[in-house]
Amino acid sequence: MSEQFEPILVGFTCNWCSYRAADLAGTARVKYPPNIRLVRLMCSGRLDPAFVIKAFAEGADGVLITGCHPGECHYLEQNYKALRRYLLLRRTLEQMGVEPERLKLVWASAAEGVKLAHEISTMVEEVRALGPLDWPRWWNENGFHAVVEEQAQEVTA
């Protein structure tokens, strides 16, 4: 009997737009799945690609990056920088076997609570369909040899 897989998403939000959008969704009682853990940054430009890679390495099944709409960043052009980082990061991760659907960039203004909730719900379903990424399993303390053995069994079985 298999339970439904509940993906874990990490969402990086901008203090001036998407974080407020998520807040607005909350006050307006717009529902979105509890699978996402939101982290507030001052701006999408603060998003170091290492945050995303660390999230995947430590067990996230998907990462959502959000920021102010183009032209509306409070620090001028930082969301464009986030866009360039995201596009390059997605290519790199794809080569490492992380499906592009697991990393998304969405623009959401402070007024777009409904839109953000919708984007989150869609992404949760897409990642659910992909299944678990399960990165840390391979690297747990003493996990290495357990996994090697397990694979050897699968091969011979």
């Binding site: 390495a57 360039r84 076997g97």
Partner: protein, 330 residues
């Protein structure tokens, strides 16, 4: 420290190319200082010795072991544990031991893909499609060869490491400086650095040692060096569209490559404070691109055809993700 005679020295190679050993020999007459101050007890490339000789030594009896190479198979792992037990100071020597280096790039491929490349390529004659058997039963008895692991690991992912000496290979003058330091420590003239320190390298980035000028110029295209008609001899290579890894790479080589007109490919590994080497480069490369238009950015990025290889050439096994998923989910 050994009481009778000189302190003991060992050097070992695991999954590596042999370049680190050459770099040690390249220290020239410094090698005589090693001989004058140490008793070399184990060094497969230079002298005959058996693993069982090492096993017979008391634990902690080797003062200094330089360990180069990554941990690719069972033998590498066993010797890493053995030398850890026998050594007071274990140094991850060179990029392979520190961060996986070129052998670590195989962490993007499954074991089957690796075996295919080795045993079924145009350069191998293998009509019977032989594959290594880790365990074979013969009339005379069982034969084992070391198991091949699904990924390569760095030395410190397998045993406790005291110091890191980066570089592919480490520059000989840096090795000589470390040998001098150890001899000074032996003579009570210096003390050892803090455990976990990076030795024989700088504390900042290749860019800091690079004489090229950075003008915060942005670019519309990445180009490979042979595609550039005339390289500006003074300007930063990255600002000329040449994918240079200097911004994330530890200094210590003296910025050899950009000085000679070639991009840094990152052989000294991550600089101080870099959490993930590739992530730092992704930020740096994203900053020089002169476009805010998704389509145009994608076109520019097409000119980096192998981003994982560009950003993790030496560092994949040591990076936060350590390997691509194909290596695991076979």
């Amino acid at each position: 420290m050994s009481t009778n005679g000189k302190p003991k020295f060992a050097m070992y190679w695991a999954a590596s190319c042999g370049g680190c050993e050459i770099a040690v020999l390249n220290t020239g007459e410094k090698i005589l200082d090693v001989d004058a101050n140490f008793e070399v007890v184990f060094w497969p490339v230079a002298m005959d010795a058996k693993y069982k000789d090492v096993e017979a030594m008391p634990d902690g009896s080797i003062l200094l072991t330089l360990f180069n190479g990554g941990i690719r198979n069972q033998e590498n792992e066993e010797i890493a544990h053995l030398l850890r037990r026998k050594s007071q100071i274990l140094v991850a020597f060179g990029s392979c031991a520190c961060e996986g280096c070129i052998p670590g790039l195989a962490n993007l491929s499954s074991t089957e893909q690796i075996f295919k490349a080795v045993y079924d390529s145009v350069t191998s004659e293998n009509a019977q499609n032989y594959r290594p058997q880790f365990h074979t039963t013969m009339p005379e008895g069982d034969i084992h060869i070391p198991k091949f692991y699904p990924v390569l690991r760095t030395l410190d992912q397998v045993v406790d490491v005291d110091y890191y000496l980066p570089g592919c290979p480490p520059e000989s003058h840096q090795i000589a400086a470390v040998i001098d330091l150890v001899i000074q420590v032996l003579n009570g003239q210096a003390s050892l650095p803090l455990k976990g320190a990076v030795i024989g390298a700088g504390q900042s980035t290749v860019c800091d040692d690079c004489p090229r000028q950075r003008n915060v110029k942005t670019i519309k295209a990445f180009r490979r060096i042979h595609e550039v008609e005339e390289l500006d001899p003074e300007l930063c290579l990255l600002e000329q569209g040449i994918p240079c890894n200097g911004p994330a790479t530890r200094n210590g080589c003296g910025a050899l490559c950009p000085k000679a007109g070639a991009q840094c490919i990152g052989c000294y590994g991550p600089a101080n404070g870099v959490v993930d080497y590739g992530a730092r480069l992704i930020s740096a490369f994203a900053s020089v691109i002169d476009s805010n238009d998704p389509e145009e950015i994608e076109q520019i990025l097409d000119q980096i055809p192998d981003p994982a290889g560009q950003f993790y050439r030496f560092n994949l096994a040591g990076s936060l993700l350590r390997a691509g998923k194909p290596a695991w989910k076979q």
